[in-house]
């Protein structure tokens, strides 16, 4: 109680530096609050694209039901890196393609399409390994198949490579940016706190001279940091809330991307921001004090 009173008193007495510290908390938390959903949206989008990487296993057009069952067995049990298997029968494939291109299939009359397994690899990176397992390369460079009923194993190679490298770049860029941003925020807050403490180092000196223990001196400063952090965090959350209601929600109705379900929910974001601001501010003031306590 004594410490809280002391902290509140010094907040009032040092309004200007406290306000500066609070402002830096608000700014960094705002940036963080905007960036976390953006990071999540981009990685979410990247993951969605990556999940489209798959291997098509075409069966021979004369494959019997027994052949289909055997290949299914092979895929399910004997093949590594298999994630998800969907069976598209001749008839299904025909219906699908006909829907996409009615005139052409009208002309065709009969169904030229084979039975197909669409196989998703367990990880997008493993797509090539999966293909090699199903259709190993021979010495001559041609491919054989592991099962006589399989006509061909194909992955849309170019497409796959592009998707993989593009998502990798996006993920890396976003990750680096996020790390830099967090680093900058912590440095900014720590520096502001240190400045406001520097102005009061004489006070700390006097406290030490009258025989106050380190923790007796430190507690008010830490509580002050918590108060500053909490106020800054609340401000940032309020601004973010206003921004969400005023800018994002009307947009979300128009664009599907923004309402992508993978972004963090707002309550959790608020909790993260409040926790981060209080933690950083309290830790910052506690640690910055160490220099002045060494008397």
């Amino acid at each position: 109680m004594f410490f809280v009173r002391e902290a509140w008193r010094s907040l009032q007495r040092n309004a200007v530096p406290s306000f500066a510290a609070m402002a830096s908390v608000v700014v960094t938390m705002l940036v963080l609050g905007v960036f976390i959903p953006i990071i999540q949206a981009t990685t979410g989008a990247a993951n969605e694209v990556r999940s489209k990487v798959l291997v098509d296993v075409y069966l021979k057009t004369n494959a019997k039901d027994a052949d289909v069952e055997r290949v299914r067995q092979v895929l399910a049990e004997d093949t590594p890196h298999v994630g998800n298997v969907t069976f598209v029968s001749k008839a299904d494939a025909y219906a699908e393609e006909k829907k996409r291109n009615p005139e052409a299939y009208e002309l065709l009359g009969s169904n030229p399409l084979p039975d197909t397994f669409r196989v998703t690899p367990d990880k997008p990176e493993n797509v090539q390994a999966l293909r090699d397992a199903l259709a190993p390369l021979t010495a001559s460079g041609a491919r054989t198949t592991t099962d006589p009923a399989i006509e061909e194993v194909r992955n849309r190679r170019e497409e796959t490579d592009k998707i993989l490298s593009a998502t990798r770049v996006v993920k890396l860029t976003v990750g680096v940016l996020a790390v830099l941003l967090v680093l900058a925020s912590v440095l900014l807050i720590a520096n502001t706190i240190r400045l406001s403490l520097f102005a009061r180092r004489r006070e700390v000196e006097v406290m030490k001279l009258v025989g106050a223990t380190d923790w007796f001196i430190r507690w008010p400063f830490i509580i002050e940091g918590i108060l500053v952090g909490a106020m800054g965090g609340i401000m940032a959350v309020l601004l973010l809330g206003v921004g969400k209601v005023a800018l994002l929600d009307p947009l979300a109705a128009d664009f599907a991307l923004l309402s992508s379900p993978e972004t963090i929910n707002f309550a959790l974001l608020i909790a993260v921001i409040l926790g981060a601001s209080v933690g950083v501010a309290a830790l910052g003031s506690g640690l910055s004090l160490r220099r002045f306590l060494r008397v």
Binding site: F2, R202, V206, M207, L209, V210, G211, A212, F216, V295
Partner: protein
């Protein structure tokens, strides 16, 4: 009470702060440390409040070797000391009452205790009417009284004063010194570092003189200087400049340059 045994303190890069100092101060004594600036008075004070560590030698206060104190114990040791400085070192954003109360609450005193003790000590130091003023609303003498009150509120067995009258006029200084004598009479050992010759001469107390980090004199009832300087001697010390000095002055500031019109 205080025991210095061959204490040396060297500051890196500069002259020696204190060299081979050995002296004892008994319980209840009143001691002046005198000497010009840089002679080592403040170094002794700093060593006594354990703000600095001696390079060599041993310091004992109340029988305890200061070198044995761990970092954690230092605050508890300092609660047994009262410290008064030339620049008062008051907390600028607290009232007189709160400044003194802080020293008590730092030692873990209850609020009831604080409410009983603080007005008492402020009455003793003649500040009963200034309880709720801030330090910058007080005169220098009053601020120093607050600082003495803060130092003495715990009734420490030892009170250290480093140039307590350095910023004050002679009349106010006497007031502060009388306060210190009164504190001494309650049994508290008092050590005062000063270069105020008048105060020392009037007090007729024990004097330890320092010069360039060495103790050069220790008298039971001493004066500021070993013998009273006569006017003639004093005049000799500020005798007119030598010819050489005059020549330098003349070449630096030529007399025949007419003053510039402005």
């Amino acid at each position: 009470m205080i025991e210095f045994r061959d204490v040396t303190k060297a500051y890196p890069g500069t002259d020696v702060g204190l060299e081979g100092a050995t002296f004892n101060v008994r319980r209840g004594e009143f001691v002046f440390l005198v000497g010009s600036t840089g002679s080592g008075k403040s170094t002794i004070m700093r060593l006594l409040i354990k703000e600095r560590e001696p390079t060599s030698g041993e310091i004992r206060v109340a029988g305890r070797n200061l070198a044995d104190l761990k970092h954690k114990q230092v605050p508890y040791y300092r609660r047994n000391l009262g410290v008064v400085f030339q620049d008062f070192k008051l907390l600028p954003n607290r009232t007189v009452y709160d400044n003194v109360a802080y020293a008590l609450s730092a030692t873990g005193a209850s609020r009831k205790e604080i409410r009983a003790k603080v007005p008492d000590i402020l009455r003793l130091t003649g500040l009963a009417t200034k309880l709720h003023n801030y330090p910058d609303q007080l005169s220098g003498g009053e601020q120093q009284r607050v600082s003495v009150a803060r130092a003495f509120v715990n009734h420490p067995p030892l009170l250290l004063a480093d140039e307590p009258t350095g910023n004050l006029d002679p009349k106010t200084s006497i007031g502060i010194m009388q306060l210190l004598y009164r504190i001494n009479r309650t049994g508290t050992t008092v050590v005062v570092a000063t270069h105020d010759a008048q105060l020392v001469n009037r007090a007729r107390r024990r004097v330890i003189e320092l010069h360039a980090g060495r103790i050069v004199r220790d008298e039971a009832t001493g004066l500021y200087a070993p013998t009273e300087q006569s006017t003639k001697e004093f005049g000799a010390m500020i005798k007119p400049p030598t010819d050489e000095f005059q020549a330098i002055m003349d070449s630096t500031f030529p007399a025949d340059v007419p003053p510039r019109e402005s």
